[in-house]
């Protein structure tokens, strides 16, 4: 299931010029966005900046009014959540959508149960659940515990693990650390690092700058439905990010580079010089 990654990370998903309007409200205007394999891309912005709309376009809930989407280099139309899922885009929404009364194994395999003739193959499902949990270094008391008994961080872990069944290329996490305590946040952040190591492209939507700066490689800032900069996390401070979110300054150009090209016009050079050697 793990992809040994080559040095050059392949581009999985590219969105160009995405627009979406709800009657008179322009939710997204000319938004570019891209994700490579094995990187964590954070999507940040103020309330109403268009983060959720963009994610819903990605996961097939909304159809965009303008723009194009490429997946693995081929143009695709993500017309429904089923299409998104079949392409390999898995989304974990904020409400997690877990069944509280079912145990961890049942939640993971719900709708995709492994069957042995006409009966459920519980043993196989449980073994594969444990294997997945071990791979994610997740701390769970038991996989036969009803999900209602688990802590917030553990529930998030289960929801993320469930999204991994079927081995998606891109995993989208919508506010995974909102409403979690410090210890549980640590659990989820470690999990994101694991996902990255497994070679998934991870899209992280978060309001928490500390979390974004800790696990993301690249940050897309959305402001009032438009791109307001793409930053390499190694080159910036949280202040730069916050000023881009609030509009105090706009970021560098945001045209997606071709993956084969070696030049990316995205570096905030002044910050980079300032932080060199760190």
């Amino acid at each position: 299931m793990t992809n040994p990654r080559a040095r050059s990370h392949e581009r999985i998903l590219t969105m160009r010029g995405i627009g979406k309007r709800f009657r008179a409200v322009k939710a997204l205007t000319d938004v570019d966005f891209w994700v490579d394999a094995g990187e964590v891309v954070a999507l940040v912005g103020d309330n109403g900046a268009g983060k959720s709309t963009l994610v819903k376009v990605l996961s097939g809930v909304y159809a965009p009014d303008a723009g194009s989407v490429e997946f693995d280099g081929a143009a695709v139309d993500i017309t429904s959540p089923v299409v998104a899922h079949d392409l390999g885009i898995a989304t974990v929404f904020q409400d997690l959508a877990l069944c509280d009364n079912l145990d961890v194994v049942a939640n993971l395999w719900l709708g995709r149960e492994i069957v042995d003739g006409s009966a459920l193959n519980e043993v196989e499902m449980e073994q594969r659940t444990w294997a997945l949990m071990r791979e994610l270094s997740a701390r769970l008391p038991s996989v036969r515990e009803p999900v209602a008994m688990l802590s917030g961080g553990q529930r998030q872990t289960v929801a993320i693990a469930r999204s991994l069944i079927g081995d998606p290329r891109v995993v989208i996490l919508d506010e995974p650390t909102a409403a979690l305590g410090v210890a549980q946040t640590a659990e989820v952040l470690n999990l994101i690092v694991r996902l990255r190591e497994r070679g998934h492209g991870v899209v992280l939507i978060s309001h928490n700058m500390a979390d974004v700066m800790a696990v993301a490689d690249r940050v897309f800032v959305l402001r009032l439905g438009r791109n307001n900069g793409v930053f390499d996390v190694a080159d910036i401070t949280s202040e730069t990010l916050i000023s881009a979110i609030t509009g105090a300054r706009s970021g560098p150009a945001t045209t997606p580079p071709e993956p084969a090209e070696n030049v990316v016009p995205l570096r905030a050079e002044s910050d980079r010089a300032h932080r060199r050697g760190l």
Binding site: R5, A6, S8, A210, T237, S238, P259, N262, V264, L278
Partner: protein
């Protein structure tokens, strides 16, 4: 005797006699007395085929916490008096982490961890804290401005004590990594060693006779800021051409074009492990630079062994073979040969274990428990 146990963890009675210089009979008597008082715990084991009594500090003596803030990760481990880690956790950190937010989070995490053990913060006897900058032992502040911008100008030990009301002891990560390796790791059988930590930053710790050498203001061993090239790139310490500007994480990663997505040291290590020639070359070049700097350290300090720790140490021989070669070319030779260069035995947890060792050194085992059990 308690001091030797704090230093070595578990010892047999015979070893205790050897370490303390007391006669085996008096050791046996003291152990009997302290066991009855609940300070020590004994169990039976065998050494070279003979039955022996293994002595360790009793679990009831309490817990200590070791905390390691590296440039990009927080490691926390809680251990009992025998240095057995009972629980641990990690948290990825932003590059520009700051003392106020991070110490707040740390206080909460320590509370959660002790609670998960069925106790409370009060059960911690001491906390050892490792930070990625030299620490002035007199003031517990960062010794050199620029090396850890978010943590400057505060008494870090006091800032954490103020939050958790437990005694806190602070030192640099390289010193504490060195302490762990010297006490119970790769350098336990030599009398002098240098621990070099290569990761996002490059630093070192000097251990002589099992104890750290701090220098006047805690800056001893900062190998990352040895000048390699007078006209080299400007370093964050505001000098030029420091070793770190050639070997530190950002320097290594910036050797790759941005489109290749080489964002973290783990990417570089993975690529090198997959046999990627460019990644291996970059790490080998780092090893060569390290070897040149290590030669200066050897000429000045003449250690018996050099232990390599930090994130990049995971590259193993890809890093260390070129380093040995460069050391051989540049250091003064002697009939006894040059110090051997080996990897840290605790990997990413060396600094945390050193922080535990530092905390245990300051635990006042005897007085407390004897008084309580009397």
């Amino acid at each position: 005797m308690l001091d030797s146990l704090k230093r070595h963890g578990r010892l047999t009675q015979i070893e205790l006699a050897g370490v303390t210089g007391l006669s085996p009979a008096s050791v046996s008597n003291i152990v009997k007395e302290l066991t009855a008082a609940g300070v020590l715990h004994t169990s039976f084991t065998s050494r070279s085929g003979r039955r022996a009594t293994l002595v360790s500090l009793a679990h009831s003596v309490g817990l200590v916490a070791g905390v390691h803030f590296s440039s990009r990760q927080l490691n926390i481990a809680i251990a009992d008096a025998t240095r057995t880690v009972v629980t641990h956790t990690t948290l990825p950190l932003a590059l520009d982490h700051r003392h106020d937010a991070e110490l707040d989070r740390l206080a909460l995490l320590l509370g959660d961890l002790t609670e998960s053990l069925g106790g409370s913060l009060g059960d911690l006897h001491a906390v050892g804290l490792a930070l990625p900058a030299p620490i002035d032992p007199r003031t517990h502040t960062v010794s050199t401005p620029g090396l850890l911008p978010g943590w400057e100008d505060i008494d870090i030990a006091q800032a954490l004590t103020g939050r958790i009301a437990r005694p806190v002891f602070v030192d640099s990560e390289a010193n504490l990594g060195g302490l762990a390796e010297a006490r119970e790791g790769s350098a336990r059988d030599v009398s002098s060693a240098v621990y070099i930590r290569v990761g996002h930053t490059v630093s070192g710790g000097i251990v002589a006779g099992g104890d750290l050498f701090h220098g006047a203001s805690g800056k001893a061993g900062q190998i990352g800021h040895i000048t390699i090239d007078e006209n080299g790139p400007v370093c964050r310490c505001s000098n030029r051409g420091c070793l770190e500007t050639y070997v530190g994480g950002p320097a290594l990663l910036s050797a790759f074009p941005p489109a290749e997505g080489m964002h973290r040291l783990s990417d570089l290590l993975l690529a090198a492990d997959d046999g990627d020639a460019a990644a291996q070359r970059v790490i080998a070049d780092a090893g060569r630079h390290l070897g040149v700097a290590a030669a200066s350290v050897c000429n000045l300090f003449d250690p018996e062994r050099i232990v390599i720790g930090g994130e990049l140490a995971a590259a193993g021989e890809i890093l260390m073979a070129p380093m040995r070669h460069a050391l051989e070319r540049s250091a003064l030779t002697s009939p006894a040969g040059l110090p051997d260069i080996i990897g840290a035995s605790f990997g990413d947890w060396a600094e945390t274990r050193g922080a535990i060792a530092l905390a245990l050194e300051h635990v006042d085992v005897g007085a407390d428990t004897v008084a309580a059990s009397a």
